[in-house]
């Protein structure tokens, strides 16, 4: 017999005895509850505002707390100006990005040597880039996080290897809370999910030395989220 059959056999043998249901200790579970619907989680998780405006404000507040830079723009000209400002302040020399309507617009305007990761790339070359410029799938007001995937944002490494991650987002990508974020990802991709979906909530961090917060442990030291509200 294979170990698979051995383990499944032991599990089935063990489960012949019913366990008490949570909160009902010492009472046998005579019903098999599937557990509460996670959509209900919305009622227990931290509250979010009613309107999109309130949710953008909550997203901004969460970003500030996470030490991520979040800016909103009502036109592409403003977005462009902000990008050029960061480029000059940080003296970017090489950037990395992926195919996308917003990223292509930004790369054109930045006018720097650009590594596009979409069709394969040299990891050493990506490591040498000053910034990873990507789009995203979702912005989560509740947490101040963004979701990226291996299919929609240039693979697995682009969003985590360069020292600065700049996210270009759009208004309609904002969702209120985590249940909404998971529902949107499922609606977009199921059943053919990208091989990686990642929620990024603030720049890389660690507290492993005396529980003191340090940014940029292994991933980006800086996270900038620029959202176009046009």
């Amino acid at each position: 017999m294979s170990e698979r059959e051995n383990i499944l056999g032991r599990i089935r043998e063990a489960l012949k005895l019913a366990a008490p249901f949570p909160g009902a200790h010492h009472e046998p579970a005579d019903h098999l509850s599937p557990g509460p619907d996670t959509a209900q989680a919305r009622e227990w998780l931290p509250g979010v505002g009613q309107t999109q405006e309130q949710q953008f404000d909550l997203f901004a507040k969460n970003c500030a707390e996470l030490k991520a830079d979040f800016q909103r723009f009502s036109s592409r000209d403003e977005l462009k100006a902000a990008l050029l400002k960061i480029r000059d302040a940080e003296q970017w020399r090489r950037i990395a990005s992926h195919d996308g309507e917003l990223t292509q617009f930004a790369c054109r305007e930045l006018g720097l040597p650009t590594l596009f990761t979409d069709r394969g790339y040299d990891a050493q070359a990506l490591e040498q880039c000053d910034v990873g410029l990507t789009e995203c799938d979702v912005l989560v007001a509740q947490t101040g996080g963004v979701a990226v995937t291996s299919r929609s944002t240039g693979g697995r490494a682009l969003t985590v290897l360069p020292p600065h991650h700049v996210v270009l987002a759009r208004r309609e990508q904002l969702v209120a809370d985590l249940p909404a974020a998971f529902a949107r990802l499922q609606a977009t991709y199921a059943p053919h999910f990208p091989s990686m979906i990642s929620f990024i909530t603030g720049p890389s961090r660690t507290g492993d030395i005396e529980r003191i917060l340090v940014l940029g442990a292994h991933g980006p030291k800086k996270l900038t989220i620029l959202c176009l509200l046009e």
Binding site: S2, E3, R4, N6, I7, R10, I11, R12, L15, A18, A19, P20, F21, P22, H25, A29, L32, S33, P36, T38, A41, E43, W44, P46, G47, N62, T117, D118, R119, Y121, A123, E127, Q142, S150, G154, G155, R156, A157, T159, V160, L161, L178, P179, F182, A190, S195, M196, I197, S198, T201, T206, G207, D208, I209, E210, V214, A217, H218, G219, P220
Partner: protein
């Protein structure tokens, strides 16, 4: 043999506990670190509209997952395999090590980059791989620190919380040859520089897992540093090891579990990276491992599953919240336990994973205060299980001396004549105790070695009750009026 081992584990525990509990500097250091955690955790809990309802829901979802484990594992592995993932099953730690070693040999691998995994600690993977000639490096900062010190993680979430910046500076200077200062920022950047090229050059990446999703066939990894993201992105081969209990039924369940794990584990609303992997690199994707091996480990988890009373210990999401609030953990520290999983949950599950009689002492090293049960985000009845372990251990292997002692006590306590006589003898012989206090002649030595025994008063409560001043007639009338 077993008896000898037993004595070793207990006595080692006692020696280390005595030593660590006496280290006031370390205790203060740990207390400071954990009080910061507590404040952050409370703030995050308060942000929930209902933390208690969320706990109950999380407990129910985990109950559902664990009590239908076979179905969920079949769904999980079927989905993983359909997208090209190689799934392996390991009944024992030795089997898991063999599977991993075989993959590394097949790939002709030399260097392995590892992201934090308590399950790999459980199977003593680093030791086995080093012995087999592989070059393994831990990428999580705290894990790297304890790896360089050749010691086990102090805490399942904060592996290096027992070390000061000065100790870490000296360690980095000695082992890496790079330590500009003892500032946490500078030391973190030493690790960042040291690790960067390793991500790019490692032959194989290795990760643990926080959750596995049956519905969609995914492994979910929670982290803050980004080391796990890089480990799963760059090496050509990826190996992931997880215990069979990590499964959750639905993708959407993560919307509840990710913020709860972050809140209970680190006092964060969300950890920095929460990543779901559903396969190796897929057609059309630019990077990611060409091969992904997922190893499901039993290692006696099915024995815990077979105990319906304590089955809920398999709900554990390894957040470490019960360690952080435990008065025993806080005073004796993580290394004293001598186990992979320390603190209350470690004391509950280790007897199942490694043998009840050898590890029952951990369940006695508890005040049964219940702080752990209250802290647990998935409502494991931890302190009840600690008591249950004591009960099971005593039922399986009664201590005859203890039994005789209680028999005599029962006899005396049930018979007023004997009880009165006992009290008299106690009171009369009490002055003699002063001469033997704490020595081997003292019958109460276990207690009096480090504490005072309160003196027995001349007048007992019963005497006082009998001789108490009776209330006057006026008082009595008030009494009956009420």
């Amino acid at each position: 043999m077993v008896k000898k081992l037993m004595r070793t584990f207990v006595s080692e525990f006692k020696v280390r506990a005595t030593e660590k509990a006496g280290d006031l500097r370390l205790r203060q250091f740990i207390r400071t670190a954990l009080s910061g955690y507590e404040a952050a955790r409370d703030r995050r809990k308060d942000a929930f509209q209902s933390w208690e309802a969320a706990r109950q829901a999380a407990a129910q979802i985990k109950w559902q997952a664990v009590n239908h484990l076979d179905e969920h594992l079949l769904a999980l592995t079927g989905k993983l395999e359909a997208r090209g993932t190689r799934v392996h099953w390991a009944s024992t730690d030795a089997q898991a090590r063999d599977i991993i070693t075989q993959i590394l040999r097949d790939k002709k691998a030399r260097s392995i980059i590892k992201s934090k995994s308590m399950t790999s600690e459980e199977i003593h993977l680093n030791h086995a791989l080093a012995a087999a000639g592989f070059d393994v490096v831990e990428s999580d900062l705290g894990e790297l620190i304890v790896q360089l010190r050749h010691e086990a993680p102090y805490h399942i979430v904060f592996p290096s919380m027992h070390l000061t910046r000065g100790e870490i500076k000296d360690l980095f200077q000695k082992e890496i040859g790079d330590s500009p200062s003892d500032k946490p920022e500078d030391l973190t950047m030493v690790a960042r520089r040291f690790m960067r090229q390793k991500y790019l050059s490692a032959d194989v990446g290795f990760t643990g897992a926080n959750f596995a999703i049956a519905e969609t066939g995914m492994i979910s990894i929670t982290e803050n540093e980004g080391n796990s993201r890089l480990t799963a992105a760059l090496p050509k081969t990826l190996i992931t090891l997880l215990g069979i209990e990590k499964v959750l039924p639905r993708f959407a369940d993560l919307a509840l579990f990710l913020p709860m794990l972050a809140t209970a584990g680190a006092g964060q609303a969300m950890t920095c990276y929460n990543t779901m992997y559903s396969g190796p690199r897929q057609p059309g994707e630019p990077d990611g491992p060409e091969e992904w091996h997922v190893i499901l480990l039993d290692n006696r988890r099915t024995e815990l599953l077979a105990d319906p009373e304590q089955r809920d210990a398999l709900h554990c999401i390894r957040c470490g919240a019960c360690l952080n609030v435990c008065p025993i953990f806080r005073n004796v520290g993580g290394h004293t336990y001598g186990t992979t999983y320390s603190g209350p949950v470690g004391s509950v599950i280790t007897p199942h994973l490694r043998g009840l009689q050898e590890w029952k002492h951990l369940s006695s090293a508890s005040s049964l205060c219940g702080a752990c049960t209250q802290a647990c985000p998935v409502k494991i009845d931890l302190h009840h299980h600690l008591l249950q372990n004591r009960h099971n251990a005593a039922a399986a292997k009664p201590d005859l001396v203890e039994r005789l002692g209680y028999k005599i006590f029962g006899l005396v306590a049930n018979e007023p004549k004997f009880w009165r006589l006992g009290k008299k003898i106690g009171w009369l012989t009490q002055p003699l105790q002063h001469f033997v206090k704490g020595s081997r002649l003292d019958p109460a030595r276990a207690w009096t070695k480090t504490r005072d025994l309160p003196p027995m008063p001349r007048e007992t409560f019963k005497d006082w009750w009998r001789n108490r001043p009776r209330a006057g007639s006026q008082d009595r009338s008030i009494g009956t009026g009420l």
